[in-house]
Symmetry: D2
Subunit: 357 residues, 4 copies
């Protein structure tokens, strides 16, 4: 191992063999602060070297030899790394993540199991970095020597990011969203091609519920050691479409009461001027622009826009007035980067910068 590599913080990736797990490895490959030093997977993979456990399924290059040669451990193994990224299935995460936090690890999780726990921050560094203060309550209440931090559901993140500047400037009263979600969101093997070729499926288990409960928490206020969810109406419909990566969401919003007279120009400006803590701190995974505005009539599109900002920017477009609420628009995000692995890594970067790692 090179000296440079040795100097980086060793991290583990749990659920490393799945779609999101591989995305973690790809994004951490060459990360300036972290290096993958442990991987964990399901029972039948354990004991094998990563390279033999599963084929590399991303079009991106596979990770370094050091990583490919790591043995696949159990997710509740005795890890010797301070930081663990979790892409575990929720049933496993439910049990294992508190255990690992208890043992002193910082766990940055993409799993849904603990997102709504009162003392677990559901973090998007550009949106609610102040929610990190919850970790004090967590430490106080949990008797853990480590900590547990979560990132939201893939389709939640891009929606929350697009709503944040609107909530800040104009307030929000009601939001209606219909998503067209990529198949990678279903993991591997995920959706059978038999079910999806020449088809769209208007149902993704628990997805609408996740969006409807997570966005208010994220946009909520931290006060007296607790998050007070934002008070606005939110209705989601979720569909699966034959797209590899990139969730598209069609959104209608009603702005806050005091927002009368807000024009489309105002909304576009709110988005394009939006910048936040990760950009100011120069976090390695933070995109230059968290929100990119496209003005062509037919953008954003998953194929053309999902890789914007290295997959970490969300792209908005098609802003127009809504006949029943105030405005309608489209927002796109890369679901396994900004919506999953990249989100967790950005969270960890903020922790590191804040000295919490």
């Amino acid at each position: 191992m090179s000296n440079e590599r040795r100097s980086r913080i060793p991290v583990g990736v749990l659920g490393a063999t799945g779609v999101v797990g591989q995305r973690f490895l790809a994004l951490l490959s060459g990360h300036p602060w972290f290096r993958v030093a442990a991987v964990a997977g399901s029972e039948r993979r354990q004991g094998q070297r990563y390279r033999d456990a599963v084929p590399w399924r991303l079009p991106d290059s596979p990770p370094e030899e050091e990583v490919l040669n790591l043995p696949v451990l159990s997710p509740d193994a005795d890890f010797e790394v301070p930081l663990l990224f979790s892409a575990l299935p929720s049933a496993v995460a439910e049990r294992v993540e508190p255990l690992l936090a208890g043992r002193g690890h910082v766990v940055c999780s993409n799993a849904s199991s603990h997102r709504m726990a009162a003392d677990v921050p559901l973090l998007i560094p550009e949106v609610n970095p102040d929610h990190l203060a919850l970790l004090e309550a967590q430490r106080a209440g949990r008797d853990w020597s480590g900590l547990l931090l979560t990132n939201p559901n893939c389709s939640t993140i891009q929606l929350a990011l697009a709503l944040k500047p609107l909530a800040d400037r104009f307030g929000l009263r009601r939001v209606q969203v219909t998503t067209l979600q990529a198949l990678s969101g279903a993991g591997y093997p995920g959706v059978a091609s038999y079910d999806l070729l020449d088809n769209a499926i208007p149902y993704i288990g628990e997805e609408e519920e996740k969006i409807e409960r997570e966005v208010p928490k994220i946009l909520g206020q931290y006060q007296e050691s607790a998050i007070h969810p934002a008070d606005f109406g939110l209705s989601a419909q979720c569909t699966r479409v034959p797209v590899r990566e990139g969730h598209l969401a069609c959104v209608s919003v009603e702005l806050g009461k005091t927002a009368s007279g807000v024009t489309g120009e105002d909304v576009l400006r709110a988005w394009s001027e939006f910048t936040a803590l990760p950009q100011r701190l120069g976090l390695p995974t933070a995109p230059a622009a968290p929100i990119l505005v496209r003005t062509e009539p037919d953008r954003p599109q998953p194929l053309l826009d999902r890789d914007a900002g290295g997959g970490m920017s969300v792209v908005v477009g098609r802003l127009r007035e809504c006949p029943i609420l105030d405005f309608k628009f489209v927002v796109l995000g890369h679901n396994t980067i900004r919506g999953a692995a990249g989100a967790s890594i950005l969270n960890a970067e903020l922790l590191y910068k804040r000295g919490l790692l």
Copy 2:
């Protein structure tokens, strides 16, 4: 020609070489009342026999030999048939359809050009058959010896059908719809595979406008020789997805003021009990059930449900409460059958039964 065939009413199909044109020919093949006796197409096809003008692109069997051997005429030719179906591009339909109605033809058009004209019925036989009364105003005002009747846009029809029983029983205040539309809706060649493979496109030119203006006309009231559009809010977002046939729409509705206490059961009953004039008249193209309710969590799906009722039923499902309006649900329709050619043919059948042909 067989005697049986000879006894049927000869009809012409304008724009017969396109996707909807071929669908007209397929549906009219073996129709009990009508037989195709003339076809018209664009200039470069004219003069050729239909069989040589374009390849047959539908998986369904091609039409009868008599039809394949018809010469392709100009859309403003001197047709010797009383009834003309129009699948013309709107720019051509704009000019040609009035001209043909003027010459005495009954024109049943799928084109958008004249749908919003004050004296042209925008007809869905199950929804607004009383709007046929507009034809009197048309006759009075136009100095035509024929008449012009239109069917709505593909995504309008399925939405209007699903809303009709709700409007009747509960009233409507606001409707939000996001569509996932099949590629056949774009005609041929339509959307390039280069643009659509592994992609979804959140834009279909003029589609949202069509939905937003057509549905209120269809659900409007005929009074004093005019249609008074229904008064409710309607907002549409339209997307194109890699599906061959079958538009999916995710809908949220707020019911009328007096509809408090309406339950999901009530809504489901409104749909499943819905039957209408075409069913009572036994029109050949009318499906047994105009609205089919599916109760599985993941239905309707384009691949599995588009052919319900021979492509003439719309299929609803996923009814659940909406956190910001009253209910949300999904509706699917076959866009080139119920949403285009089949719609026009059903219109013509109603005219015939009413003695207007």
Copy 3:
């Protein structure tokens, strides 16, 4: 049950919940001679009614109520039907099919397990109906009161059918085939959309071997109670493509030594004149033309030609001279109808007509 239905021969379908199993049920729905009276599936389905065990995944209508309400049995249950169709996975078929034949059932199997057994006919009724004579050897040697009959692999069948008239008229020396196979051939869930969207996979486990060993057996000669495989070279390459149904095969053939001077016309005539026993006997599932010749430069295509002859015709086209062998051409067949369930049913129909049932 109607009298008409009662008068039909009761049959069972083993592996009834999979892609081919559902195809069996769809094809047997309304069959004039057979009616489904028993279904079997894997352990976790057993005990449930068919309608509850799996969703119906075919765009075709689901089978009759009587069938949907059948309990899912174990494949080695004590069936009370004389005829069993098997769509079992080969590992199960290996063990269960002989057992069922031993118990007196006529087993028509689509599984690969016993296809190459010396006393088991590998039957395509249009190609080698004389191979049924093997059943005498089977009876003599096996001590079964029933019998076991197999149909070939999906891609084998269409190739063997296309080659049969050439073999008969001109002889065969060498055949090279590259297939583009539909995803339904992999069963359900089969190929992940994650693996297949925007991709083609140049590998299908054991498929090339099956083609290379099955075709010579099918085209072989029955002599002295045994099949003597046809003596010609055969090389196969198999790929999976994002197509729902319909295998496409690009073939090059070198004809027999004595075939010098054979022209493309001769080959086309051999195909279009080809008719066989099932056509003469009028078997219900036999297509009018076992081989359809298309002359357009770009046909056959899976989407447009797979349903020819109700999915039971194979379609050939693009015949041209081959610079290194004699001729090259393309052949298409519906892999789950002619290539699987329809093949087994046609076999059973021949047995019935021959009094072997």
Copy 4:
């Protein structure tokens, strides 16, 4: 313009608005030796700035501002750049390329029009760099002050590359190839999604002919100012599949007479040891390995392997014995990079290094 940029050789791209044209711009963006200083397109684009003429359709980032702001010129404009890359349609290239070469430009063309001309090299720098000697005959015979150099058809290049080491070490007698070609090879708009979704098309106009005549020229010998085509049999079948980028080819080869005893190991070694002039010269676009060998049973695959070596490596795999020729294998190449724009650029780099620019 930066000094660095100014110091690079200005080049023009003809046919810059198409799929291959955009690929040229993407690959030349940041090229160390060349900078795009002129773009030409079809009549209706001319006069517009590039950014307004067509949308950028590649998922890759669009080119630099300087390029986006270039006016779209006519392909026979008076260019002020020494080097022109041509992605022109063949009908235009037929007329324009000689004219431009006559005016003193070095034309590196991807068009098919002049590939088979006796005095025009059909160059793959790794395969037949000695064919550049033909340029002397070209200069002598044409009275041009510039020169014209072509690269082969997309599916030809990857096949020729895979065959080259085999031809060199073992000789070639017969080659059979069936291709599965990506839709980007058809340009834009190219194949309608209506034709390609859930389908494969066993026909690409003139493609088989191109392969069959180009490969022998490329593998031919330069002698006495002429190319003597390699003497081996070659038969191609070409199909179009729903894949964005990356042509897959299934190949069978019979090696030379003296190659008896050649093992699979020998073939694999021939490929993996293959390196050539561009690698030795360190040409900027040359991949480290022109041929990559994958040993997994199911590789190469377009989705996973097309970007190998920046899209400039071809990837071979699935080597096994062929029952009728000697070996069969699969080869994949990125059709718009190694098979088109990258090929032309590599050609130009070789010219530059040889002082011919």
